[in-house]
């Protein structure tokens, strides 16, 4: 029982570690790649935001390349 709890704990710790490492990798991305992700986030989030509130006129995905 104790071993099972430890192994679950280890697995969860491993998941948190992997998540933290993913965030660290995101921070180290080249700025142009971050901008590419930003533009993608803008496109993905826009319809969701629009459903939840009235958006300002300027809250639109940017019509540019990274």
């Amino acid at each position: 029982m104790r071993d099972r709890a430890r192994s679950t704990g280890d697995r969860i710790a491993g998941l948190f570690h992997a998540k933290a490492e993913w965030h660290r990798r995101q921070v180290r991305l080249p700025i142009k790649e971050k901008v590419r992700i930003l533009l993608e986030l803008q496109r993905q989030d826009h319809p969701l935001l629009k459903r939840h509130r009235t958006l300002e006129w300027w809250e639109e995905p940017w019509p540019i390349e990274p």
């Binding site: 660290r24 995101q26 700025i31 971050k34 930003l38 006129w57 300027w58 540019i64």
Partner: protein, 165 residues
């Protein structure tokens, strides 16, 4: 299709033409240079305006310069190559200091001036609001922050971590 490089080039042209004395990116776009990507739909630019004997700070020369190049102002934003840019004159000493301490970053061979991360944290906390506090914490957790410098900036400008800050 334009790229962000061309938007940054417009900011540099404004500076070399003397419309602004200096500038630095602030807000979420600036955070992108130091932390992981987060969504934003506009670009905040802090500016130092040339000295003037007018009693009221005016952005009219900036808007006129931009309009002459085909970039129209709509309320508080100007669309530069389709990107909404908000120009904010340095409104206090912390902003002035952030612009003076701005770092030159390279973006596709164009220099762009960005507030240092320590100043971005202090500015976010000073302005207040949940989203900005979250941004400050994000920077603190993921960016390479000089804690002693941050503490010194916050203490000098009376900025606190509390909710009321």
């Amino acid at each position: 299709m334009a790229s962000l490089r061309e938007v940054f080039q417009v900011l540099n042209d404004m500076r070399s033409d003397g419309v602004i004395e200096d500038y630095a990116l602030g807000g979420a776009m600036a955070v992108l240079f130091y932390a992981e990507p987060t969504r934003t739909y506009d670009l905040d630019v802090f500016v130092i305006l040339p000295a003037s004997d007018q009693p009221i700070v005016s952005l009219t020369p900036i808007y006129a310069w931009l309009r002459a190049r085909g970039f129209e102002a709509h309320a508080e934003h100007v669309l530069i190559h389709g990107v909404p840019v908000q120009f904010m004159p340095a409104y206090n000493e912390l902003v002035e200091e952030a612009i003076a301490a701005a770092r030159d970053h390279d973006y596709d061979d164009v220099t762009v001036r960005v507030c240092p991360p320590e100043h971005l944290i202090a500015l976010a906390l000073q302005a207040g609001g949940g989203k900005r506090r979250e941004r400050a914490h994000q920077l603190l957790e993921t960016a390479d922050i000089d804690r002693a410098l941050l503490d010194e900036i916050m203490s000098r400008h009376g900025v606190r971590w509390s909710r009321d800050a």
